[in-house]
Structure formats: C-alpha cells, structure tokens
C-alpha cells in the first residue's frame, strides 16, 4: 500500500449493487419453474392414459366377441359385426404400445417438448378413433356425445385452459364432421341397432344443428368448470411446492449461520483457555495461590462455555445435515461403548465413580461419529448426575429374535428424575431444578443430541427413573430390517418407577 509500485497503480474499485430483496409473500411462480415442476406430472399422466387405454381395448374386444354370437346382441336389439370393433381394438393397441414407449422415453434429458407432443398425439388419435366408433355405433346412439367428455375432462386436468379448449374444439369438429358426412350422404349410414327397433331417418342439417348446439353448450360448461378447478389446484400446488422449497432453504441457511457463529465464538475461548493454562502451568512464572485459584476458575468457566458451544455446534450440525446424513454403516456397538468408556474413565475416576461394563458384541447400523456422540452423551449424563463414589453400569447386547438389532442400557444410581419431568428431558436446554442444583455446569443439550442421533439412526429411546434412586436410559437399535424393529417394552403396571418411551420418529 505504501510501496512505489502500489502508489503508481490505479486504486482498485469494487461496487456492490443493492440486491433486490425477494418479496415476503410467495411470488407468482415463473414459467420456467412451472415447466420444470409440471413435466414429471405430464409424463405420469401420459403413462396413466396408456394404462387406461388398455381398458378401452379390452371393452372393444369384448364387444367383438359378443358379435361372434349374434343371438346375444340380438336379445337387446343390437346387431354387431365383429370385424369393426376387432380392427379398432387392434389399431388402438398398436398405437398404445407406441405411445407407452414414447411416454416413458420422453422423461429423458432434452426431451422437454416431446411429452406434450406425445400427449397431444394420444388425445388426437383417441378422438379420431372415438369418432370412428361413434360413426359405426350410429349417430342416434344416445351416449355418443358423452363419450367425448372423458377426453375433454382429462385435457382440462393436464393442459392449460386454452389447450383443453382446443381439445374440445377438435372433438366437436370430428363429431360434427361425421354427422355432417352421413347427413349429406358422403358416408353410408351405420348403426348397430336391429332394423325395425328404431327408425334410422337421416337428420336434416337443421336437426343436426339443433342437436349439436345444446351438446356444445354442455361441453363448454363442463370445460369451464373443470379447467378452472384444475388451474386453481395446479396453482395452489405450485405455490405450496415453492413455499416448501423456500422453507427448507431458509432452515438450512439458518443452521449454517449458527454453525459459523458458534465456531467464531469458540475460537476466542480456545485462546483464553490456552492463556489461562500458560498461567496455571507456571509458564509465566509461579502464581500466588489466590491468583492460581482465580485462573483455575477462568479456565473452568472457559471449558464449560466451550463445551456448550461445542454441543450447540453438534446439535445444529446434526439437524442441518438431517437431509444429507452420512450413510449408516454396520458397526459393533460394544466397540464404540468400550472406546467411549476408556475416554471418560479418567474424568469419572476423579469423582470416584466406577464405570461397570457388560458388553456383548452387538451389530448395529449407524453413522460412526453419531453413534459415538450418542453413547458419549448418555455416559457423561450418567456420570454427571451420579453421586460421588457411585457406580454407572453400561450394558450392550444383541436383541434376541430374527429381526436382530441391539440394546444399550446406561444405568446410574444418582439423583433421578421426577416422573412428570421425564417427557421434557430431551428438549433443548431443559434441565430439572435438581439437575441444576447437582451440577451447574452442564449444558442441557446432551440429551437433545442423543434424541437427534436416535432419530437419525431409527433407534427407540426409553428412560426409567426414580427420584433419589437413579435413572436408566435404554436405546433399542433396529435390526437389518427397520420395519421389524422391536417395539419398546410397555411399562409394567406394578413397576414403582416412572417410565417414558420416546419413539425415534416422534
């Protein structure tokens, strides 16, 4: 900055434009996001249409089969030539196979436009075939105009109102054209009614219009109602999806921010703690005893605060990573417990607390770091709330039965927890008054971490406690098939102790 070269260089400039803030309410979703969201829906619908079409093919084949036995249709006044429905079923089946293939392929990259094209081809070919069937059945068949309604309604559901109106127009055009062609004598009149049961007079153009206009009105009303409803639903669904995405993003952002903040807080405490150790260790000369005591208190408070920050960090990390949790690996629970006990033993010994372990090899599936954290927090908790000179018993064993799984218990004979307080002990920062009186320094986050890990691992937590007599935590890890995980054992009625089960998916 003060060198000759620096002063010769032009000053660097950086300009930060104000970033437009997103409005608080959900913005109208843009076309691109709507397209991205709608494509899979269209594709699913295209496949669904193909499946429905097989039903129609089946109905046509049944009709053709009925035609083979003329007495059957004749009983209801009909005369069916089997060739017509059989050929139509064949054409429809061939088209359907092709549509099926194209609908499935359209999900591939770069095929964005083609799924719409496949849907349009499906609808157009359906309408043409339907018109042919209606022509064959006969123009005075009462259900004929209603058959087109399927496609109009389906188009309303999957297309925009304009596109479904175009489907309506296509249907009306095809139906009108077939009626017109017959009435003008361009096509021979066809009917499946037995002659004599009905008069097959050709309609005049006037009669044709008198029939078509009310039909078009009914179609139009149905189109309006369904497309409006469908558009509303689609918009709502899109808004919900967008809101959900924003919520997930903001929660991730908050967790990240918290983690950064906790790290920033922890670093100064590391420095303070290091410097108190310089004082206490006599590296800066011997301290008089009262000064040593003060420095010791500073170091203790520093460690406590640092641990609290560490636990906030762990909990926030567990929660923010819930979506992309590290993969669960097969582990031996006994090995993890042994390692944790080895690490915590010196601290327990300072308070003359014995750690008794009965560990059998117990395979579990968990993220190694998370499992260590769970065991660590349960044992630290048991040691913390034991009386000096007490015993903490830790056991682990595989669960009996074919489902597998494992069970970890951590039992102390310490201060215990009142029954009404049990449901809250896994809450962040919750500490019972008795716990605070016994140990001011602990953070109230350890059991929240335990709960979070149990949840991620699919394990069930149980706690039994009697005030003044101690507490037992039990963690039941699921076997290889989580659905077959053992249910928590129900508390026995005769049990004098309170009991609280906490399913991992609460």
């Amino acid at each position: 900055m003060n060198g000759a070269a620096d002063s010769a260089a032009p000053p660097a400039r950086y300009r930060l434009a104000p970033v437009p803030e997103a409005p608080a309410g959900a913005p109208p979703p843009d076309a691109a996001s709507e397209a991205a969201w709608i494509e899979p829906v269209l594709r699913a619908n295209a496949v669904w249409f193909c499946q429905l079409r097989w039903l129609v093919v089946g109905v046509l084949l049944v009709v053709a089969a009925t035609g083979l036995v003329p007495a059957l249709p004749a009983a209801v006044g009909l005369r069916i030539q089997p060739l017509w429905p059989a050929v139509t079923a064949g054409v429809l089946a061939a088209l359907n196979l092709e549509f099926m293939r194209r609908s499935r392929a359209a999900g591939g990259p770069g095929a964005r436009g083609s799924i719409r094209a496949v849907l349009w081809a499906q609808i157009a070919s359906d309408l043409v075939i339907l018109t042919a069937v209606i022509y064959w059945v006969g123009p005075d068949w009462p259900a004929a105009p209603f058959m087109y309604l399927f496609h109009i309604i389906l188009a309303c559901l999957v297309f925009s109102p304009g596109q479904s109106l175009a489907v309506l127009g296509l249907a009306a055009g095809l139906y009108g054209l077939s009626l017109w062609s017959v009435s003008r004598g361009w096509l021979p009149a066809s009917t499946i009614r037995l002659e004599g049961t009905g008069s097959l007079g050709l309609p005049t153009p006037g009669q044709l219009w008198a029939g078509l206009v009310p039909m078009l009105l009914v179609w139009g009303v149905i189109w309006y109602l369904v497309s409006r409803l469908a558009a509303t639903l689609r918009r709502r669904e899109l808004e919900l999806a967008e809101t959900n995405r924003r919520l997930a993003a903001s929660s991730e952002e908050r967790a990240q921010h918290m983690l950064q903040t906790t790290h920033q807080l922890k670093a100064p405490f590391a420095a303070i703690h290091a410097m108190t150790q310089v004082l206490l260790g006599g590296y800066a000369g011997e301290l008089p005893p009262p000064a040593r005591e003060v420095a010791g208190k500073i170091a203790d408070r520093c460690l406590a605060l640092s641990r609290q920050i560490q636990e906030m960090l762990q909990l926030a990390n567990l929660r923010s990573r819930a979506q992309t949790a590290p993969p669960l690996r097969p582990l031996d629970l006994a090995g993890v417990v042994r390692e944790v006990l080895g690490r915590l033993e010196p601290a327990a010994r300072q308070r003359r607390i014995r750690l008794d372990a009965a560990l059998q090899p117990a395979p579990v599936r968990a993220a190694p770091d998370h499992l260590t954290m769970l065991v660590d927090n349960l044992v630290v908790n048991a040691v913390t709330y034991s009386h000096n000179g007490g015993v903490v018993e830790v056991t682990c064993a595989p669960e009996p039965g074919p489902a597998g799984g494992a069970r970890l218990t951590v039992r102390d004979h310490g201060i215990g927890i009142a029954p009404e307080k049990l449901p809250r002990i896994f809450d962040d920062y919750y500490r019972t008054e008795e716990a605070v009186a016994h140990n001011r320094a602990s953070t109230g986050l350890g059991l929240a971490i335990v709960r979070q890990v149990a949840r991620a691992t699919g394990a069930t937590l149980e706690v039994e406690s009697a005030p003044g007599r101690g507490t037992t935590f039990t963690v039941i890890f699921p076997g290889a098939h989580p659905a077959a995980a053992p249910a928590p054992t129900p508390p026995s009625a005769a049990q004098p102790q309170s009991h609280h089960g906490l399913p991992a998916d609460r």
Partner: protein, 134 residues
C-alpha cells in the same frame, strides 16, 4: 531439541502454544497466514508443523496447507489443531476429514489441554512420521 512451526492466525493462541513448546525445550516459529507456510518450510525445514484449520480468508485453508506440505515434504509430521470438531466438519467436505485422505499425522481439538498437547507433540517427534499409536 526440535524446531516446530506453528501456523495459526490467532496470535494469542499461537503464543500460548509456543510458550509450552519452548518450555519443552523446543525452538518455535509462528506463521499467521497459510500462504507463508510453504516458503518458511522450504527456508528452514521444521521437525513438525502445528497447523490451524480455519483462516480468515478461507475456512478450510488448513487442509490445503496440509496437502501442499505433504507434497513438498511427505515425511513432515503435522499436528492439526482446530476449533471445529474433527468429527463434525462443518462446511468442509467429507473428503477433507477422511482420515485416509487427510494428510495430517494427528488431530487435536481446541480448546487444547496443554498436558495432552505436550504428550501429542512428544509423540509426533518420536515415531516415524509421528504416527499416532493405536
């Protein structure tokens, strides 16, 4: 007596660590930016490096320094000190803390207990490449 290079942007912390190292009879040098590390190592090769992870301009700079050091001096023992829990590497990729991949010899979490630090430093300087004993 050994020569230890301490790489940490927190001068107070680095000085406290240096005090302990000197009390153990070692010579120390403090480097406060990751960029200075490699030139300093080339200039005068230390017997071990005590390295922080997070630096103001790059929250994972320590990992990069460790990789560079490994390339430059494969046998140089590195002790990583970090306020970020080793097992919960926030903001770092899993790759960064994969023990098979991360090229450091040992890891100690801040705040550091100085008794533990002394023990780790002694071990770092003792073994071949100071590998942690199982």
């Amino acid at each position: 007596m050994a020569y230890l290079l301490i790489v940490d942007d927190d001068a107070d912390f680095a000085n406290a660590v240096a005090t302990v190292c000197r009390a153990m009879g070692h010579e120390t040098q403090i480097v406060s930016t990751p960029g200075e590390t490699l030139p300093r190592v080339s200039e005068h090769r230390p017997d071990a490096v005590i390295l922080d992870v997070m630096f103001p301009e790059d929250p994972a700079a320590g990992f990069q320094v460790a990789r560079d050091l490994r390339r430059h001096a494969p046998d140089l023992p590195i002790l990583m000190l970090t306020a970020v829990n080793q097992q919960f590497p926030l903001g770092f990729s899993h790759r960064d803390i994969d023990p098979k991949w991360l090229p450091v010899t040992d890891f100690v979490e801040k705040p550091v207990d100085f008794a533990l630090l002394r023990e780790r430093i002694a071990r770092l300087l003792a073994g071949p490449r100071g590998e942690a004993q199982p």
